[in-house]
């Protein structure tokens, strides 16, 4: 089915609250999914894959600060989806960069990592240069680099695979974020090395995709929509005679 950005964002927000997210996290998560989908980055598919994990997670468990100094922070997300309250980890990096000019934030043990791009867009819109890097350790070994220039609402994205897998490669389920207050971090994503480019999205690609999605709507499969609607319905309270009293006109429109 086709839905608008607002419809996807709205049902997402209600569904996340129904799952048990705090209100602020639900709003952020819904925007991340809708933003990703509108920019052709598979927000709905990522949510579909991660929904089973989200339903099993303890949403009261926040990322734990493992280490911090003035401009470097390491947080443990406890194998939760990035859709939970990981936004605070990003805000921590943002605050550090505002104060110190540059910050590095590592979020360990998280999944649904691709969705983080939706929140990083907000930091970039607030005037922050942001680069995110993570590696998927399955075969072939792939690395994904996302670069936002300050003030630009869309990033440049590069996904590539490595020809040679380092011997010491281990399971990697973390993200590294670098933020700089005053300078562009990556003027453009390019490399002198032999890379097998799997995907390269420029700002123009993503803007075109977004403009099309806002006009034509976005595809969401019926099953996922039904699941989100069911989760949203968890918030509804059954009507009683007391709740009906005084709530609008009765049987006659001339009441």
């Amino acid at each position: 089915m086709k839905v608008s950005f607002n419809e996807l964002q709205g049902i997402g927000r209600k569904a996340f609250i129904g799952i048990g997210f705090a209100e602020g996290d639900a709003i952020d998560a819904a925007e991340m999914v809708a933003w990703m989908e509108a920019h052709g980055l598979g927000g709905v598919e990522a949510l579909k894959k991660g929904l089973r994990f989200l339903l099993a997670e303890d949403h009261s468990e926040s990322p734990t600060l493992v280490y911090q100094d003035e401009d470097f922070s390491v947080l443990d997300a406890h194998n939760h989806s990035i859709l939970g309250n990981a936004s605070l980890a990003m805000e921590l990096g943002y605050a550090r960069a505002r104060g110190r000019g540059l910050s590095v934030t590592k979020i360990r043990h998280c999944h649904n990592r691709i969705l983080i791009i939706g929140y990083l867009s907000r930091l970039a819109r607030r005037g922050m240069n942001v680069t995110a890097f993570w590696r998927n350790a399955h075969d072939p070994l792939t690395e994904l680099v996302v670069g936002f220039k300050a003030g630009h609402p869309v990033p440049e994205i590069c996904l590539y695979s490595l020809e040679n897998t380092p011997d010491d490669t281990e399971k990697n389920d973390g993200i590294t974020l670098i933020m700089a207050n005053h300078v562009d971090l990556l003027p453009s994503l390019r490399s002198e090395y032999e890379l097998t480019n799997l995907m390269r999205q420029t700002e123009e690609d993503l803007e075109r995709q977004r403009d099309r999605a806002l006009v034509e709507g976005m595809d969401v499969d019926d099953e996922l929509w039904h699941n989100l609607k069911s989760l949203a319905d968890r918030l509804l309270v059954e009507a009683t005679d007391a709740s009906r009293s005084g709530a609008g006109a009765g049987t006659s429109d001339n009441d």
Partner: protein, 314 residues
């Protein structure tokens, strides 16, 4: 000249709209050299124009003009500095986040006309927690009147009904569903945030907002709202929406007047019959030959205000 009739509730709604718009810079910086009355009139007109002609919105043109200025300077950083300079000059006392919002607005306008309507409550994580507490005490003193020990202060709760998926009211002590309560009453939430901030500052007097939120993550949305709306004198309904004496009719009238409703005819304190779009311009008036007549279009700006009745007192 038509005389407009603005009753107390409609006036409140308009001020709410203005309060939402002015500090967000969606229609350009407020010109502080004008009187408050002129500013309000100016923004009412801009608001109405925005509703009628979103594509030709004056503020959008204003943003595009600015953008050209920025483009002629040496890159994006210079542009942002220019916006910040304008903000500091025209809206003194605002924080970094406020400046960033202006940069955001310009960038959004530059990329797509549609995005001018985007509304974000953005966090200012670098703010001192002590500043946030001070803002609550200065700007949200009404919320601190909430007394969690007084049953009258939490008499009602708001929920979404399964029957019509509409917000409804229940008596907390008597009716089921309070565990699914909608977080509509911002007053008690701000009170709670203030309490937690107080305890946090005892432990970390120089702590930042993000450090406070790492300790109390469920406060994120409330803090975002406080930080964003603190600059909007009419941005919140300044009442405890749980209070036994709260009348939902007041909220209904405010909300409906946002949609251009008029001729309010309350049927109880929970529902009201209204007239929509009275006096609204017809399609042909906007897009036929009439539509090219700017003076005539300007006359249509204020259609959503009811015309003052002509009373025959003889």
């Amino acid at each position: 000249m038509r005389r407009l009739f603005v009753d107390r509730h409609d006036d409140y709604a308009v001020r709410c709209q203005l309060a939402c718009i002015i500090p967000e810079q969606r229609h350009g910086p407020v010109r502080l050299d004008r009187t408050a009355g002129e500013q309000v009139q100016d923004h009412i007109r801009t608001l109405r124009r925005g509703l009628l002609h979103p594509v030709n919105n004056v503020s959008l043109e204003e943003f595009h003009i600015r953008l050209k200025v920025f483009e002629s300077s040496s890159g994006g950083q210079s542009g942002r500095r220019e916006i910040n300079r304008l903000n500091r000059r025209e809206c003194p006392g605002k924080g970094v986040g406020h400046h960033a919002n202006a940069a955001t607005a310009v960038n959004q306008c530059a990329t797509a006309d549609l995005e001018i309507l985007q509304q974000d409550l953005e966090l200012q994580p670098e703010m001192r927690a002590a500043t946030l507490k001070q803002d609550i005490e200065t700007r949200f003193a009404w919320a601190l009147e909430y007394d969690p020990k007084n049953p009258d202060h939490q008499h009602w709760f708001w929920y979404r009904s399964a029957e019509k998926e509409e917000p409804r009211l229940g008596v907390r002590a008597l009716e089921p569903g309070s565990e699914k309560e909608m977080p509509l009453a911002i007053g008690p939430r701000i009170h709670r945030t203030h309490q937690l901030l107080d305890a946090f500052l005892d432990r970390s007097p120089r702590g930042s907002v993000v450090e406070f939120l790492m300790a109390h993550p469920r406060q994120k949305e409330c803090v975002r709202r406080i930080q964003t709306m603190a600059a909007t004198p009419y941005g919140e309904i300044q009442a405890n929406l749980w209070h036994r004496d709260m009348k939902p009719m007041h909220l209904l009238r405010t909300k409906l007047s946002f949609f251009g409703a008029s001729r309010f005819d309350p049927k109880s304190d929970r529902w009201v019959r209204v007239t929509m779009f009275q006096g609204a311009p017809l399609f042909c008036e906007l897009f036929s030959d009439h539509g090219t007549d700017k003076a005539r279009l300007a006359e249509l700006d204020d259609w959503s205000f009811p015309v003052e009745p002509e009373l025959n007192l003889s």
